[in-house]
Symmetry: C2
Subunit: 478 residues, 2 copies
C-alpha cells in the first residue's frame, strides 16, 4: 500500500476515484484495450451484490440459464433498432480452430437476439408462458474511453429475459424487477435511487419503454444504476415467437429484459467514499470487521494472538465476515490506514492492556470516538452495530441526494445549477427530442428520468416554452 | 414432454444420453457451431456444484477474481508447451468497434497466460505469497465434434491459479484441490472417483505434473472429472514472476492451476441415469421433492390444493428444495413420468383420500415400494430420507465401479477386457510413451491415471515386456 495521501475528493474526484480503485486493490486495467482485471476485494463486493440479486430473482420465480457467448451476425440483425444500437460496438470473431469462419460471430453485447431466437422453439401455447429466466454472464461492447468498473469493453452483469402472454403481465414484470433493483441498491448498497422512465432518446435499442434506477455520486454527478425494459412485442415479432392464446388465436409474445452490472461496484465507491478511501456499507463489505492485534514484543504478541484468534472465531461463528490481520511486517498504524482505505466498516484493536482488562477497542469507519467494549459483550453487539451503520450510511447518502435535488424555476437556473452545483434539476418538459438535445448540448446535462407514469406538469417547458407534457429530471451523468 | 420411451441404456447409451439431455430439458445446441444453451434444470445442477465447490475454495483460503475474456495473441505465446497445446483451438477476434484490430485477440482457452502475466506485478517478496485465486468463467476451445455438456466449444468452469514461494507449498496446494474435487464428486454428485496422476502424454500443456479425478459412467467408459496441475516454475519463468525469498535471493514463483467444469453435469447424468431418465443425487438436485396433487373434480381439487400448498411451504421452510406441480393441463401419471425423467429424488402424491386420512404417499426415484406416511411425520423425516438416498446412490455407483475395475494379467486380457466389458484395467507399465501410444492404438483405451506417487509394480510391462516402473490404469474414455 502506498502511504501517500489520496487526492482530495473535492479537488479531483476522478483522480481520487482512480487512486482508490488502485490502492484499495479493487481492479486494474488488463492487457487488451478496454479490459479490466477485478481483484479479490473488488470481486468480493460484486459477489455480495450477485447473491443479494440472485436470491431476490429466485424469490420472484426466476430461474438461471446460460446462452452462448458467440452469436451469428445474421441473428443480431433481425430487430432493426437493436442492431442499429449495438452493431457499432460489437467485437467479431472471424477465425476459429485455425480456419476462417463461414459466418463471423459476434461476442454478445447483450443477449436478446439469441434468447428470443430460442424462445421461438420454447413457446407454443399460453401454458408455456411466462418464461422467467436470467443469466449471469460477461458481455462486450467496444469502448475506447474506459474507466474501471464504470465503462469497460467487457463487463460482468446479469441479464433477465422474460416472455409473457399479455402486455399487462410483461409490464408488471418490468416494474417488479425495477423494484428489486431499487431494493438492492438501497438496502444492500445503501445508495438511494430514484426510479423512473427514460425519455425516448435514452431507451434501450428495441424497447418500448426503459425504466431505470438513478443514483447520485459524491461529486453530484448522476449514475444510471440499473435498467428494466418493457419490450412490447418487438422481439416477439422480430424472432417470430408466437403462441396460441386461451381463445385459440395466434399471438406474438410480450417481453421484458433487465440488467444490473458490476459498474455498481464503481457506484458504491463513488456514493460513499471519503478522503481516507472507500467506505463500504456492511451488507456489501467482503470484510465487515477487521481485528488488528497490537504488541511490542514476543511475549505480548503471543498473549494477544490467542485472544485475537478466539475473538475472530467467535465473530465468524456469529455469521459476520471477519479478518484477523496478524501480518508481522506492518505496524498497527499502517494496518489501520490500509483497512480504512479498503472501507472495512469496523476495526477492533486489541493490545496487551486490553487483554489484561478483558476488553477491546472498536473504531467505526464512519468516524466518531473509539469505544472500549468488554470482550464478553463484543460479539453479541456487532450485528446491531453493523445494521446501524448500514442505516446511517443510507441516511447520509439520502440527505446528500436530497440536498442536491432541486426544482429548476427556469432554464437559466437549470444551466447554472448543473454547472455550479451539479445534482438533479427537475422541471417541465415539452417531450420534444430536439429540445432535449439542445439542452444537452448547452448544459452537458441529460434527462436522467421521467416519472414512471407520465405527469402533466401544468406549466411550459423550461427550455423551449412550448406546453409541458411531462416532468423531466436533468443531471450531468457518468 | 414426449411420451415416447427413451432408448434403452444397454442398447444405445449415446442415444439414451442425447434423449435424456433433451427431454429432461437440461440443454440444447446453440445457433453457432459447438455452442450450447443450458436450460434451467441443467443450470440448476451446475449452480449446486458451483456452490459446493466455492464454499470449499473459500474454506481453504481462496478468493475469487475476474480476468479478461480476451487475451492478446502475443501473451499466449510465451510458454512454449502451453501455446502449442492451445493455439490450434483458439477463437480469434480480429475486429472490434467496426475496425480491424492492430493485434488479434484470443478468446481465453484457459487463463494461465493472462494471469501469470499479471502475477508478475503482484509479487515482489515472499511475503506477497501465496496468491490463492479462483475465477468462475466461460472459456472457448474450438471443437468440431461436440456433445452437450461433455464437449462444446464454449464451456463454463472454474479455474484456480495459485502462486507459491516453494515447490512443497505448490505441491501441497495441487493435492489439496484434488482432494476438494474428490470430495465434491463423491459427497455431492455421488460419483466415486479414483485420484491419480496423468502420464506425461496426458499432461496439461505447461504443467510439470497433472493430477486428476476419474469416474466411471454407466456404459463402463471412464470420464475425467477434474484436474489439478503442479506447474513447477514453468509459468513463473515464462512470465517472469520473481520474488525476493526470505534469504534475500531472487527466485521464480511456483504455480498450480486446477479446473472443474460443467461437463460434470454430463457426468452426473451418465453415472446415475437409468432407462426412465435422470436420477439426481439429492445434493445435486435443483428439485429434491415434488408434490403431485391428485383429484377428479373441482371439489376434490380445492380440498387437496390447500393441503398440498401447506405441505410445500412446510417442506421449503425445512430448507428442502421443493416444487408443487399444480399444472392443470396434465394428468398425474404424466407428471410422475416427467419428474422421474428429470431425476427428482422424491415424489409425494396427495389425493382426497390421503387428505381425509391425514397422510400422503411417498415414492423414491430409486424404486422400491411406495410408502404411506402420516402428514404430521412427513416433513421431519424428509431430510434423513434424502441423506439415505444420497448414500445409497454413492454406494450403488461404488459397487458398479468396483465390479468394473480389474487387474489385467496380460495385454490380451486388457485388450479383450476393454473391448468386451469396458471398465478400468490395471497393470504394470514400462513408462514409455511409444508403448502407451501403441496400446492406445490397439485398444482405444488410454492410461486414465497412475498412482499419485509412482509405484514399482515389481513386474514387467503388460504390453512390451520391458521392466515395469509404474502401475497404469487403462480405460476407454470420453
Amino acid at each position: 500500500m502506498s502511504t501517500q495521501k489520496l487526492p482530495a475528493q473535492q479537488e479531483d474526484f476522478p483522480g481520487w476515484y482512480n487512486e482508490v480503485v488502485k490502492r484499495a486493490e479493487l481492479a486494474e486495467h488488463g492487457p487488451a484495450k478496454g479490459s479490466m482485471i477485478i481483484k479479490p476485494h473488488g470481486y468480493g463486493i460484486w459477489e455480495l451484490m450477485q447473491r443479494a440479486l440472485d436470491d431476490r430473482f429466485k424469490a420472484t420465480g426466476h430461474e438461471n440459464v446460460y446462452f452462448p457467448l458467440l452469436i451469428p451476425m445474421s441473428l443480431l440483425e433481425r430487430e432493426a433498432d437493436h442492431v442499429e444500437g449495438f452493431a457499432p460496438q460489437v467485437a467479431v470473431v472471424t477465425h476459429g480452430g485455425g480456419e476462417k469462419l463461414e459466418e463471423p460471430l459476434a461476442i454478445r453485447p447483450t443477449s436478446e437476439a439469441i434468447i428470443w431466437n430460442t424462445y421461438k422453439r420454447w413457446v407454443q401455447s399460453y401454458r408455456d408462458l411466462p418464461l422467467l429466466y436470467n443469466q449471469w454472464v460477461n458481455v462486450l461492447r467496444w469502448e475506447m474511453r474506459t474507466r474501471l468498473f464504470l465503462r469497460t469493453s467487457e463487463f460482468l452483469w446479469q441479464e433477465g429475459h422474460t416472455a409473457h402472454a399479455t402486455a399487462d403481465d410483461a409490464m408488471r414484470e418490468t416494474l417488479q424487477m425495477l423494484e428489486v433493483y431499487r431494493e438492492v441498491a438501497e438496502d444492500v448498497l445503501a445508495i438511494p435511487v430514484f426510479t423512473g422512465r427514460k425519455s425516448p432518446g435514452e431507451r434501450f435499442p428495441g424497447a418500448v419503454e426503459t425504466y431505470c434506477i438513478e443514483g447520485l455520486m459524491r461529486d453530484a454527478k448522476a449514475l444510471q444504476c440499473g435498467t428494466s425494459h418493457f419490450l412490447g412485442q418487438n422481439f416477439g415479432k422480430a424472432y417470430d415467437v408466437t403462441f396460441l392464446n386461451a381463445d385459440g388465436d395466434q399471438e406474438h409474445a410480450w417481453g421484458t429484459s433487465w440488467g444490473f452490472s458490476a459498474r455498481m461496484v464503481g457506484a458504491t465507491i463513488m456514493a460513499h467514499g471519503d478522503d481516507a478511501g472507500l467506505r463500504l456499507p456492511p451488507a456489501a463489505a467482503p470484510i465487515q470487521v477487521v481485528i488488528v492485534p497490537i504488541h511490542r514484543n514476543d511475549e505480548e504478541r503471543s498473549t494477544v494472538a490467542a485472544v485475537a484468534e478466539k475473538l475472530r472465531a467467535d465473530i465468524a461463528a456469529a455469521g459476520i465476515r471477519v479478518r484477523l490481520d496478524d501480518r508481522d511486517q506492518h505496524r498497527p498504524g499502517y494496518k489501520f490506514a490500509e483497512w480504512e482505505l479498503k472501507g472495512v466498516p469496523l476495526r477492533i484493536e486489541l493490545g496487551p492492556r486490553d487483554v489484561a482488562a478483558d476488553r477491546a477497542v472498536i473504531a467505526s469507519r464512519l468516524g466518531g470516538d473509539k469505544e472500549e467494549i468488554h470482550l464478553g459483550a463484543l460479539v453479541a453487539g456487532l450485528s446491531d452495530r453493523l445494521t446501524a451503520m448500514q442505516r446511517q450510511m443510507f441516511a447520509d447518502a439520502l440527505a446528500y441526494r436530497d440536498a442536491n435535488t432541486h426544482q429548476a424555476g427556469s432554464f437559466d437556473e437549470l444551466a447554472a445549477g448543473v454547472e455550479e452545483q451539479g445534482g438533479f434539476w427537475i422541471g417541465p418538459w415539452c417531450g420534444d427530442a430536439s429540445c432535449e438535445a439542445e439542452v444537452a448540448t448547452k448544459t452537458k446535462a441529460t434527462i436522467r428520468f421521467l416519472p414512471i407514469e407520465p405527469k402533466d406538469p401544468g406549466a411550459a417547458c423550461i427550455h423551449c416554452g412550448k406546453p409541458g407534457i411531462d416532468v423531466a429530471t436533468w443531471a450531468r451523468a457518468y
